[in-house]
Subunit: 456 residues, 2 copies
């Protein structure tokens, strides 16, 4: 099998591949904001057309939310299922972007060329590495090396409400021998990786109400309870002095890291000073007595993702507000139960309220952590293919983010997920000026060519 | 002197007086927001024209900010200085208004007719009670009963940056025998009052910075410090379990309430259940062991007037933000020093920061509390005039709000301030759907006629 011919074709195709990615990036498919509904439709249409242009049967499939895209390419050998998502995060604070987030650019930087724009790394650029690998393979050989099902979601950044029902209704169609997911990062900037451990997430929005209207802090200050003060007390109470989360039973189901895994992670030589230094920090801020890598991979967290209340405009207004709000999320590991944690979180908030204050909640999503057994010869083959492409030993690692679909592949489709991605820590996911290294895009696509060859 | 003739003329004039007030209310003179600069100019022009229409010499006077309006009416007897402000608070949250805040209406309510709109009570309606009293007096008698200087400010709701320099530069022109200030409330809804104690204020805006950019809480959650968590801890630490403010030396200069004053306030029979019940609260939230009236009149406070950080839009975004912000103000009493408190507050915040986090501050204003010696026969005359108009004994009371100019009249002009206003607790100052009772407007103007007669 002429692997080199496919790789050479891919190299020659990169300018066109970049232009194709830019077309997709120009579609503002922000799934969480209803104002961008038609953009999400357009992104799905673009992917259907791109698959069809390769001679792959593909269609947009309706859901109560944004559509799925499903494509099928027949072939011999194992049946692979490839997953990516075409939706992106909102762009605010928009004023911190140096360019229009939806007018992608190829930029030269000190660290090399990058593709700049919302969705370059999360997840359109990653998704397209696989499509470009398939395109080159098919152009060189006339057919793909095995049966492949393509499965693209448009609600990953907004809690994936349609995903489980869709997978359950279409499980026979989607079930495969192995699922490939491209939505993760490398281990530091030069070492490719397979992720075998992902954190789950529970997210909740809380509103504290005190007085039934906004008040003047001159007339009511002192005698009326201020809901911002109450919310601050609640948030401050969520961690103890050692950085542990204080919600009752929160650590139920959190496993100790095995000695094997501890040794393997220690061997990675994670440079937390560099990792934190990239964002102008220096001290790991998690639980006392926990290594920096465990803080991001194998320990649960509690984060406030947004807070607001009272007057937040220019100048000053002496209002004593009626309400204060926060968006709070928890990253979960091991067997932590997101539903039990939501219940315990809400009960704890209620227990902290002073007289006259009430709390109300809006649920924003719940997913369990995912632990994938790496004892599989196919995983070792993929690891070897990655090592060959990047010229360094690839690593089995944990991942701090939450990719609920990895668990769903196991639970609903009985299909083992193989998580390989080419993101870097400084990509600025969910942030202004998101980028994806041109190297990630190029060598990512080349990696998939090698992995396809290794698995078939 | 035919007091009754002036009062009858005022009664007959009320429909036209209301229309005049509505003209002024339609001008959106929001002083804190630069977008409304020209509206502030128009409000000043309107007042100049209104004074001139009564035959009073008046002009708009430039400042580095919004203009002052100064008018002079010659006459015999004592020289009175009347102060009010023509600027108003911002109107957000605009969605909570039932009508356009700048399209005032006369509304019938269960409690009687009210004038509805931004500035009705704070302070355009109050200001106009005095002008209508003067207008009726002059129309009936051809001249005012004494020399009166009119002094209107347009920056009261934005910290009065131009006030002290203007008063210092024009002290000879403004100095009088007694200053009348109409920007306070009655004691409960039927009892008129003279305010002899006002709280000062120090306000500061704080920004906590952690990482130098917004991060993805999946990659960085656990290892990177979240500035919202830090800000919440700072705010939570500002009060102890008994409701006392914890800033070092904060209570320096806070006097014990004299036994006399305690007895007088106790005799007022303040119904805190009603006061709090009006805004759906029931339990006084101030310091333990302090009476509800003291909480609003004679004790200092710390309030968070606004807080924001991270993602605050629709849906959910798992951002770990770079910054979190709050607007915080302190009501001050007795001899508390706003500048020392600002310094101690900032030092305390710095002492609470974890590694890698920084705090920056923007100053928004500082004024000392004001205590006025009520042992003055003119005060008793004014009190008697109020009692006559309202048919109940008027009271000497404290006021929770901050009216820095009261102190400036004493300190800069050596002119004693007499604070009389006709606001009610449910006026919704600084809130959506602000109103001023038609009774306040009408009987307020009649009260000034009686006070002018009593003082001259």
């Amino acid at each position: 099998m002429s692997l080199d011919a496919v790789l050479s074709r891919l190299d020659a195709e990169m300018p066109k591949a970049t232009e194709r990615l830019f077309e997709l990036l120009r579609i503002a498919s922000i799934s969480t904001d209803p104002a961008y509904k038609s953009d999400c439709e357009r992104a799905a249409d673009w992917l259907v057309a791109d698959l069809q242009s390769m001679g792959i049967t593909a269609e947009k499939r309706k859901t109560p939310g944004h559509p799925m895209v499903v494509g099928h390419a027949d072939g011999p050998g194992p049946h692979l299922l490839f997953y990516g998502h075409y939706d992106v995060q909102p762009v605010d604070p928009i004023e911190l972007w140096n360019n229009d987030p939806f007018d992608p650019k190829l930029e030269q930087t000190e660290k090399g060329p990058v593709l700049r724009g919302r969705g370059t790394a999360d997840d359109k650029g990653q998704l397209m590495t696989f499509l470009e690998a398939c395109r080159a393979w098919k152009a060189e050989h006339g057919a793909l090396p095995c049966k492949i099902t393509f499965f693209f979601e448009g609600e990953e950044e907004s809690g994936s409400p349609s995903l489980v029902p869709f997978m359950e209704e279409n499980s026979d169609e989607l079930r495969a021998d192995l699922a490939l997911i491209c939505d993760t990062a490398m281990f530091e900037s030069k070492t490719p990786a397979i992720v075998t451990m992902l954190r789950g997430m529970m997210s909740d929005e809380i509103t504290i109400t005190g007085p039934d209207k906004d008040l003047h802090s001159g007339y009511y200050g002192g005698i009326a309870m201020n809901p911002i003060r109450v919310l601050s007390r609640v948030i401050a109470a969520l961690h103890d002095e050692t950085g542990r989360v204080t919600i009752p039973d929160f650590y139920d189901g959190v496993p100790d890291l095995s000695a094997d895994m501890q040794a393997q992670w220690a061997s990675l030589g994670f440079d937390h000073k560099q990792f934190l230094g990239d964002v102008d920090l220096s001290v790991p801020a998690g639980e006392a007595g926990v290594t920096p890598l465990e803080m991001t991979w194998s320990r649960p967290t509690c984060e406030v993702n947004g807070i607001w209340g009272g007057y937040i405009g220019e100048g000053f207004k002496t209002v004593l507000p009626s309400q204060a709000h926060a968006k709070i999320s928890f990253r979960l590991v091991g067997d932590q139960d997101p539903h039990a944690i939501r219940e315990n979180f809400r009960a704890m908030v209620q227990s902290l309220l002073p007289p006259d204050c009430t709390a109300s909640f809006v649920e924003h999503g719940a997913s369990e952590a995912c632990v994938i057994d790496a004892g599989d010869p196919r995983f070792d083959k993929a690891l070897a293919a990655l090592s060959a492409e990047w010229g360094v030993p690839a690593a089995y690692i944990g991942g701090g983010g939450s990719i609920p679909i990895a668990g769903h592949f196991q639970d609903i489709l009985n299909t083992k997920p193989l998580l390989i991605g080419f993101g870097k820590d400084d990509d600025g996911l969910h942030s202004p000026n998101e980028k994806y290294d041109l190297e990630s895009f190029h060598k990512g696509a080349r990696s998939w060519v090698r992995i396809l060859a290794a698995l078939t």
